[in-house]
């Protein structure tokens, strides 16, 4: 089973699942928010694009989390993306 490839049972699987589920959501939300904030189109349009694409981001992060065997890399990329994208969006502040 591919699960054996994914580095053992128990805590490792729980960590991976949590990263995919919650980290993936945070990363997708962060990316979608950053996109909405930065897209050089009308405010309502940029917001809508960010929201529309967010689920695709979430699915991509979630699936990749279970494809990449190294849990450390998964955690770093996904939580990292969440922090970086979300942080950037926060630092940029609300669109003037």
């Amino acid at each position: 089973m591919a699960s054996a490839q994914l580095g053992g049972q128990g805590w490792s699987m729980a960590g991976r699942s949590l990263t995919a589920l919650i980290g993936g959501y945070a990363a997708a939300a962060g990316l979608a928010t950053l996109l909405a904030r930065l897209l050089p189109v009308e405010r309502v349009e940029a917001t809508a694009w960010g929201m529309i694409l967010s689920f695709l981001f979430y699915a991509a992060f979630g699936l990749w989390a279970f494809h990449e065997p190294r849990l450390t890399r998964v955690a770093a990329v996904i939580w990292g993306a969440a922090v970086v994208a979300g942080g950037a969006a926060l630092l940029l502040g609300v669109r003037p």
């Binding site: 490839q5 962060g30 405010r43 979430y58 494809h67």
Partner: protein, 523 residues
Amino acid sequence: MKGNGVRQSMAWIHGWLGLLAGWILFAMFVTGTASYFRPEITRWMQPEYRPHAVPQAEAARTTVAWLQKNAPHDEQWTIYLPTERTLSTRAFTRARPNPDPKAPRAPRRPEVRLDPATGAPIEARDTRGGEFFYRFHFQLQLPHPWGRWLAGLCAMFMLGAILSGVITHKRIFADFFTLRWSKGQRSWLDAHNVSAVLALPYHAMITYTGLITLVVMYMPWPILANYPKPTAFAESLYGDTAGQKASGQPGRLADMGRFVEAASAEWEGARVSRIIVGNPDDASSTVTLLRTGEDRLNARGASITYAGVSGARLAASPAPGPAVETAGVMLGLHLGWFAGPLLRWVCFLLGLTGCAMVATGLVLWTVKRQRPGAQPFFGMSLVERLNIGAVACLPAGIAAFLLANRLLPPMLVGRADLEVSAMFWAWFGLAALSLLRPVRRAWIETLAISALLFAAVPIADLAMVGAFPTDGLFVAFDATMFLLAATLGFAAWRTAVRPARAARPRRRAPVTVAEVREAVDVA
């Protein structure tokens, strides 16, 4: 099994996403498919009601007259005008919030259905009607907001399952037409592939657009990044409609019919789908009319807001840009309002195909892990039992809901809630009883009971309503019930005649290496 190829990992995740969300997804697919005929189901469940078609302006007038008598001081009225399929006016009211902050929030009032000709509540048995399936579909009968969150999570799992399923499927075109019966695991895999791949555009569309329908709840963060006041986003979409606050001075609404005619004229004759009246008894009342979404893909029709008392045109929704139009089209694709009669039936059949996809997937999970003669491990038993409860017993619950509608006395108080109770008692009760039977017998018996209950619905219809149905809607509904009963009965029969695993004769030819690899491929 070698390597960590993307096919293997996607196969693994596909199995888990499908399994964990499958039981709820099946219920969402079933109730969602039923919701394509939401108004028709409501009409079937209120057979006494003889609709009279009236012009929209007249329907609006009579509704407002009734609301002014029965909910004059409410904060907001929402009126869904009758359409060709919904022949009654639906009205919701939202009471003014209690100024006392410690007072508990008033419960949300159910909709009231009014006769468009008279404005009086329609004289028919009290029932939730098709609205029950619609609400269950995305709220799962759980308190707000948990139901919507859970439904959204399952939809996300579905999206992951679709993407991983496509990535992992090796010969997606070679297997396009392959459906072999009576070959055990093979057959289940074929059935799952056929129901999934042949309607893949539909499944992918319905899943993604389903998420979009509640995107403001699931993903509000982009709004917060772009709008200092989040309500401004809704204003950008719909025009500034909510802004008006009550002035405190009393005021009388102008003739509602004139508002309907004015809006319809501005939209070159298009119908009005909804009217939202803010602060109806106030001098600064507003009347917002929304255009129908039934003649186009974009379900979010334009809106115009007038001052309630003076009739002055206050605002209109701006023309949507490409992103907003895309969201509206996605909403329209999911709701399927644009579909004429044939397309609507087609969507219904595709929805049933989706139900088949989920069900065959769930069964495939257990069939793949069956070891003949060995004691099933706990997880296996759990999944088997949940499969029976979710797939075979839910239809019994739905049939019980419809049966209760015909069998409960029309004048009984609280019958609408009793119908819903009947659904859950039948569904969970049958599932509980099925635990007493061995797995294979449980499948056969629950499917058979579901079939019988569905067959009983048209019989109860004929018996209780008295006359043979002449209205095409009732004929079509009852015929569909018989067809569903036949399908469930066929499933029960096939399960019964299939030789039990232990008695299966030995295979004639040795299993080839290729077959083993293929069977394990989607492990």
